[in-house]
């Protein structure tokens, strides 16, 4: 647990899983969850580098901003998904893009 690489591996796995989710999922909300995974992976890296890079805590601040971003993104993305659902009765991203006039 005192090894930076461990965290990097974990974050890499999380990142790839998130990526996989984003690629394969059709449901908009599921895609959003994938994105959250990716952001979390990034955050782990930030914090880990901060920890093993001299504990100057800039990483923490960065990841704080990332969380802000994630929140903003989640809010807007879900608003969009729901708007799409409202007008098209679907949450599938493919459907949404194909039904676009």
């Amino acid at each position: 647990m005192d090894q930076l690489v461990n965290y990097l591996y974990i974050s890499a796995i999380l990142f790839s899983l998130g990526l996989f989710g984003v690629i394969t999922r059709r449901n908009g909300i599921a895609v959003l969850m994938g994105v959250e995974l990716i952001l979390n992976a990034a955050n782990i890296n930030f914090v880990a580098f901060s920890r093993f890079g001299g504990m100057n805590l800039s990483g923490h601040v960065f990841s704080l901003f990332v969380i802000v971003l994630a929140a903003a993104e989640a809010a807007v993305a879900l608003a969009i998904i729901i708007t799409i659902y409202n007008s098209m009765q679907t949450v599938n991203v493919d459907d949404a893009s194909s039904m676009k006039q």
């Binding site: 729901i82 659902y85 409202n86 009765q89």
Partner: protein
């Protein structure tokens, strides 16, 4: 936004539900939290009252009228007795009239207390409910003194009452009134003017007077809409014309005329008016007199029909009696005030929220026994 189009939800409130006041079922179509349509399903307490009446004699109908509006049995008894008396042309002694007024006004207070208490419960206030029940209990004690029963009295008979008032009743009644009047103030402080309560009820479920009349709504509900219509004043029966009392009408003090708060408030005021009547009646009560004097041996009204209204705590209670000269009624129809009050529910609660529907329903003060009969 965002009302997502498509399916709406159908929700069943009742028949078993803490705030349907019995076994009413409301099929509520909601759109999110907002009610778009209400369909009251009644009949879960249809006890074949009218059929029974056709099969028992006129005296024996009285216990059944008790069980219709079981919260205000005295008033039901009175309505029935008055109707049959008019059909038969019986004059009742003055003492009986006074006793009748006394007991039915007491019962009006008891009924309103129950209505207001449960209304408090509907909007989530538990304590006022218990306070009101506590005081109602004292009225019931008095009824028990009078006729031995707590809820269903079978006290007012055609042509008289079943027992004379017991000795000590008048003093007890005065005692009670002295005790009771300050309590009303306490209810007001605890519930009526409570901001939360006002917020929950004022402006909610407004019933405009024309709609009310068209739907046949009567009683406190109609008066809350600003229509001054009280049978006790407008078509006096018994000896109500001898008393001096006001008819409270809704004034929209904290909201709009005819909202839930007004309906609540009119009832609260009516309690005060009843106290007024009671004080006069207790004063005027003749000491001597036989309460059985005018009770006919056999009740056989002449052929014919009669429709007579009386003012029960819930509104115009009317009996339509058709007699074919036999000892049993040919047909007896009860026009129950709660029935008409309930019918307006859909109209006034569309567009409000689920919690409001509960508040509106509570403010209409329905009794299922009377609706379903």
């Amino acid at each position: 936004m965002g009302i997502i189009h498509g399916e709406e939800m159908v929700l069943n409130i009742g028949p078993q539900h803490p705030s349907t006041h019995g076994v009413l079922r409301l099929k509520v179509r909601t759109d999110g939290e907002v009610v778009s349509d209400i369909y009251p399903v009644i009949g879960y307490l249809h006890r074949s009252f009218e059929k029974h009446c056709e099969n028992v004699t006129y005296e024996q109908v009285i216990p059944y009228t008790d069980r219709c509006d079981y919260i205000a049995s005295m008033n039901n008894n009175l309505g029935y007795a008055v109707t049959v008396e008019e059909l038969m042309g019986i004059e009742v002694p003055e003492k009986v009239e006074y006793i009748r007024v006394i007991v039915s006004e007491f019962n009006r207070i008891a009924s309103h207390l129950l209505a207001l208490g449960t209304y408090g419960l509907d909007v989530g206030a538990f304590t006022p409910f218990l306070y009101m029940f506590r005081d109602r209990e004292r009225i019931l004690d008095m009824f028990e003194m009078v006729c031995g029963a707590r809820l269903l009295y079978n006290y007012i008979w055609v042509g008289g009452v079943s027992h004379d008032l017991p000795k000590g009743f008048v003093e007890t009644a005065y005692q009670f009134l002295d005790y009771f009047e300050p309590q009303v103030k306490e209810y007001n402080n605890l519930l009526t003017y409570n901001k939360i309560f006002v917020e929950r009820t004022a402006d909610v479920g407004v019933l405009p007077p024309d709609v009310a009349i068209n739907y046949g709504v009567t009683g406190p509900n109609l008066r809350a809409s600003g229509v001054k219509w009280d049978i006790r004043k407008d078509e006096p029966y018994s000896i109500y014309d001898k008393f001096d009392f006001d008819i409270p009408v809704g004034r929209g003090e904290l909201g709009t005329i005819g909202d839930c708060w007004d309906r609540y408030w009119v009832r609260m005021r009516e309690i005060e008016e009843s106290v007024k009547i009671l004080r006069q009646a207790l004063k005027g009560l003749p000491k001597e007199g036989d309460v059985h004097q005018a009770i006919p041996k056999k009740i056989r009204p002449p052929k014919g029909s009669i429709y007579k209204r009386t003012e029960s705590p819930r509104g115009d209670l009317a009996f339509y009696i058709t007699s074919d000269g036999k000892p049993k009624p040919y047909r007896l129809k009860m026009r129950s005030p709660a029935f008409t009050s309930l019918s307006v529910l859909n109209k006034i609660s569309r567009g409000w929220m689920l919690s409001d529907v509960i508040a509106i329903l509570g403010s209409l003060d329905i009794v299922l026994g009377e609706i379903d009969r």
